[in-house]
């Protein structure tokens, strides 16, 4: 599967005056998880949002031989999926948010098929986070940008999520950018870890 190649990427959110974050040059290998870590407020989410083209940015990103700027923005986001920490739900039931539900991934995350008929107003934040991942994967993205996908989960569900993503990319060879505050999690999952320093510089951690 294709690599996600990021060159000279810098977020340019209007109204954000302080832009200390250095430009990012990075190539994410297919079928590999690349970790992203750094102190709170250092711009990890901004970086992922810039890659997904959800915020204005300078620089170029490409997936395989497809340049971000050469296709419509929604097509790009379908391929390069950004999963925010806080998921949003707008229909009444869970199932309405899925184009086609993938029962296997729901099961891996510990849900029964009838989860699809649940009311969104009654599910917990942890359930929302896991369901959001299932929803994201069910749309068959070709690269994943996961923003603290296990932030509100306990140990056992964290392992479920890690297993689901690992299984997913074993089949499709998608590159994954995984934001986490937990060094042990990145140790378990990531082949390489990028870290944002407090001065805004970006370094690859040696392990």
């Amino acid at each position: 599967m294709a690599d996600l190649v990021i060159s000279d990427l810098q977020s340019r959110v209007p109204g954000l005056l302080v832009q200390r974050l250095a430009a990012l040059n990075l190539s994410l290998q297919g079928a590999e998880i690349t970790g992203l870590t750094g102190p709170s407020g250092s711009g990890k989410s901004l970086l992922l949002r810039a890659i997904a083209d959800l915020d204005p940015s300078t620089g170029e990103v490409s997936l395989g031989d497809c340049n971000r700027s050469s296709i419509a923005a929604h097509e790009w986001r379908k391929m390069v999926a950004y999963l925010p920490t806080e998921s949003s739900w707008w229909f009444e039931t869970v199932g309405e948010h899925f184009l086609q539900a993938d029962m296997v991934s729901l099961q891996t995350l510990g849900f029964e098929p009838y989860v699809l008929s649940w009311k969104v107003s009654r599910i917990s934040s942890g359930e929302k986070q896991r369901l959001a991942l299932a929803r994201c994967l069910s749309r068959q993205p070709e690269a994943l940008l996961l923003d603290e996908p296990t932030a509100s989960l306990g140990d056992s569900h964290t392992r479920d999520v890690e297993r689901l993503v690992s299984d997913f990319i074993r089949k499709g060879k998608e590159p994954v950018f995984w934001v986490s505050h937990d060094p042990e999690q990145l140790q378990r999952l990531a082949q390489r870890v990028i870290s944002i320093q407090s001065d805004g510089s970006i370094k690859e951690q040696t392990r």
């Binding site: 209007p14 109204g15 083209d53 959800l54 204005p56 929604h74 950004y82 925010p84 949003s88 707008w90």
Partner: protein
């Protein structure tokens, strides 16, 4: 037909009622006293001025005077739409969005009514064109204001949801579709209500005026139906135009939600 002329004392009695309500509001600390008094004073000043202007325009009956007056009415309506928004589009968009939507809807419907339906001679005869345009502008103004206010407020409240839907690869148009439908519906509510209760609960203002002036009721009814339909068409056109363009303006060419374009 002879209209009973109103004396200054008659108007003063009506004014004292408004003052009484204002006093009540002030004593009960409801805090709306100022805007009530300002609006009441504006009514007096603006209508008196209008009376004088109409006297001149009716006497002159030249197309350029009527054109100038229409332009002033349009600009005033556009300003009113803008200042009534809590979160408005920044820059010239704030003024132009409402104004151009009203121009497209109210002016085209008025032109159609004058040229095809009522057909006064000349077609711009101010006794017909000015009141028609005024009623259309006043009502489309309402629809556009309500619709745009709903749009900008909902988008602000639901920005996380819109952003989440964009992140899932939905088009900008899809991500805002619920809000767009809702805003157009909200803009249309007043005229739909007005048409639903017309004659049952409320006697519409224009018809009341004609009957007071001695027009036979059935003639007045026919005019009122015409006006209601024109207003419905104008409001619908204007609201749809403003909301559709407003929605587009909230996203940039890369389909990102741009709340920085709202003040």
């Amino acid at each position: 037909m002879n209209v009973i002329s109103l004396s200054a004392i008659d108007l003063a009695i009506a004014a004292s009622l408004v003052l009484f309500v204002a006093l009540l509001q002030w004593r009960m600390r409801l805090g709306n006293t100022r805007s009530l008094l300002i609006a009441a004073s504006r009514t007096v000043a603006q209508l008196l001025l209008l009376g004088l202007v109409l006297k001149i325009v009716f006497a002159a009956s030249e197309w350029y005077w009527i054109g100038l007056m229409s332009l002033v009415m349009l600009l005033a309506a556009g300003r009113e739409v803008m200042v009534r928004q809590k979160r408005r589009f920044i820059g010239s968009w704030g003024f132009l969005l409402g104004t151009s939507s009203m121009f497209v809807s109210a002016f085209s419907v008025t032109l159609l009514a004058l040229l095809v339906i009522v057909q006064p001679d000349p077609w711009y005869l101010p006794q017909y064109s000015i009141p028609l345009l005024g009623m259309l502008l006043g009502n489309t103004l309402n629809g556009i204001t309500l619709g745009l206010d709903n749009l900008t407020r909902s988008v602000w409240e639901k920005r996380t949801i819109i952003d989440g839907r964009l992140a899932l690869g939905e088009t900008w148009s899809n991500a805002i579709s619920d809000i767009r439908h809702d805003s157009i519906r909200v803009g249309m509510i007043p005229i739909i209500n007005a048409m639903s209760v017309a004659g049952l609960v409320s006697l519409p203002g224009m018809m009341t005026g004609q009957i007071l002036a001695g027009t036979p009721p059935v003639e007045a009814v026919k005019y009122q139906i015409l006006i209601m339909f024109l207003i419905a068409a104008g409001t619908g056109l204007g609201t749809i135009t403003a909301i559709v363009i407003g929605c587009r303006r909230l996203f940039d060419d890369r389909e990102r939600l741009r709340l920085d374009r709202l003040g």
